[in-house]
Amino acid sequence: MHFSPRSALAIYQREMARAFRTAFQSILSPVLTTSLYFVVFGSVIGARMEPVGGVPYGAFIIPGLLMLTLLGETTSNASFGIYMPRFTGTIYELLSAPVGVAETLAGFVGAAATKGLILAAIILGTARLFVDYEIAHPLLAAVYIMLVAASFALFGFILGIWADSFEKLGIIPMLILTPLTFLGGTFYSVRDLPAPWDAIALANPIAFLVSGLRYSFYGVADVPIAVSLWLTLGFLGVCTIIIAVIFRTGWRLRE
């Protein structure tokens, strides 16, 4: 199979430049949201909460909050990244270039993973201002964050190709992603839920993502880390296959 690193790099750099162009917004917005959550849940409410699994409540919610912002930002960023060129017509260039699905994804997803890491660093830095915490497995956390960012960049990419209006573009993150993340144990351990809600909560795939990240932070998890990792990798794989099929058939890309 052919792969042109220069093409992939060009797409990567352009995606990164796009993020830096709106750097103010991309940094300020997560800093502000995270701060608000920490003021309300971390400090005010958290002070009256029991530690969860030995972790003080304020620290306990960090991975969940990180996941909440990461999923939302990555998905919408990637979906805009491909939707806007379709909308304005600039996608003609990508379609007429000697570039296949591999370069396109390497560029888009690589950039999304990088942005995910930067975003995570910003959120963790902000969190540090409010609560004290140690990350048990920093390397695992970094890899996991990149993996999740890459998966949801692919997911956002599919969304951006599927959507034929701005409304549809915004509806999935708002109607599905945010509620599932909230219900996925951002602010609590799903194991603390009364039966049958603990089992029902585990039907939510995002609970596994939150749990995985929480494991990398504090060594405690609702489900084994291996399960979270495999689930993430599986999601990544499925999204990649869907995009490969989209490129092969030209669905919504080529008339």
Partner: protein
């Protein structure tokens, strides 16, 4: 003739719940030529370009560029093809420089700032290199699109209506740019519905209508074959019939015998020569005339005539 640089066979495109935009199109493009695809709006010009450049999936037929079958070896072929689209689709917030350098990288070329500078200078965009594209005028945006299309040094360049909506002065300017590209050895396919443009620029012209190529020929040959010279001679005194001395010219009388009209020639000077002979014959025969008006048919007349026939046939 050498191998065509682009060879299209039986190309057909039917849009989903849409019309048949291309109907069994055969077309060969020669290396180094400027080929004008001339046709009214909706004829299928953009669709044809889209099919070659990978924006449109053909319903049937084959496209071969540089000897590569586009269905299989699209990478190799696309690396050598450039496209300037009809719509002014640009990344508004990007600067000119970044936009062009992105194109260079996207097409797999190593970074080459000297080449970009050369392109921007040749298109008079150099002093705008750090400007955001949204701040540029329509004509300038079109140039940015050309610069982007040239960034990977294509050997075959498509220009889809390069002068649509461009004022006369800019249009002349664009023609010069295109001529300069040809000088550099780039093969150019441009679409237009300005006949004047095809006449001015093209080595060969293809006339397309309702998805079918009606005619492809050297511009000159086309005008030779179909071009005519028309001469209208207003006579000093009415004639009852065309005199014997003028019989060979095939001229006809009208307006109560006061107007003599000649139609003939090959669009390449023979008509004018015959009109001169006709005028001399009139003088020799002692027939006076007050005015003589000559008009060579242009590509426009050919075009309108051709489409008119089609309309009647339909």
């Amino acid at each position: 003739m050498s191998e065509p640089i682009l060879s299209i066979r039986g190309l057909t495109k039917t849009y989903a719940n849409g019309p048949r935009a291309l109907d069994n199109v055969d077309l060969d493009i020669r290396a180094g030529e400027i080929f004008a695809l001339l046709g009214p709006n909706g004829a299928g010009k953009t669709t044809l370009i889209g099919a070659v450049c990978g924006l449109v999936r053909p319903t049937g037929g084959t496209i071969t560029a540089f000897g590569h079958d586009l269905a299989r070896d699209w990478r190799a072929a696309r690396a050598r093809i450039g496209l300037v689209p009809q719509e002014l689709a640009t990344d508004m917030f990007e600067t000119v420089w970044r936009a062009v350098s992105y194109s260079q990288g996207l097409f797999g070329k190593p970074r080459n700032p000297a080449r970009i500078e050369e392109i921007l200078r040749s298109l008079s965009l150099w002093d705008k290199k750090d400007a955001q594209i949204r701040a540029l005028s329509g004509g300038m945006k079109r140039r940015v699109l050309i610069a982007k299309a040239l960034a990977h040094e294509p050997e075959l360049l498509f220009l889809d209506e390069p002068t649509a909506g461009v004022d006369v002065e800019l249009r002349k300017d664009m023609w010069e740019q295109i001529a300069a590209l040809k000088q550099r050895g780039v093969t150019i396919i441009l679409t237009t519905h300005y006949i004047e443009e095809a006449e001015e620029m093209a080595d060969r012209v293809g006339i397309i209508q309702r998805g079918r190529i009606r005619m492809v020929d050297e511009k000159r040959a086309m005008m030779e074959r179909l071009g005519t010279t028309e001469a209208v001679i207003e006579l000093a005194a009415p004639l009852a019939a065309v005199p014997e001395a003028l019989a060979g010219f095939g001229a006809v009388l009208s307006e109560g015998g006061t107007r003599l009209t000649y139609r003939g020639g090959n669009g390449q000077g023979r008509g004018r020569a015959e009109v001169a002979q006709l005028a001399q014959a009139l003088t020799r025969a002692g027939i006076g005339f007050t005015s003589l008006d000559i008009h060579d048919s242009s590509l426009e007349d050919i075009f309108v005539g051709l489409l008119g026939q089609e309309q009647e046939a339909a």
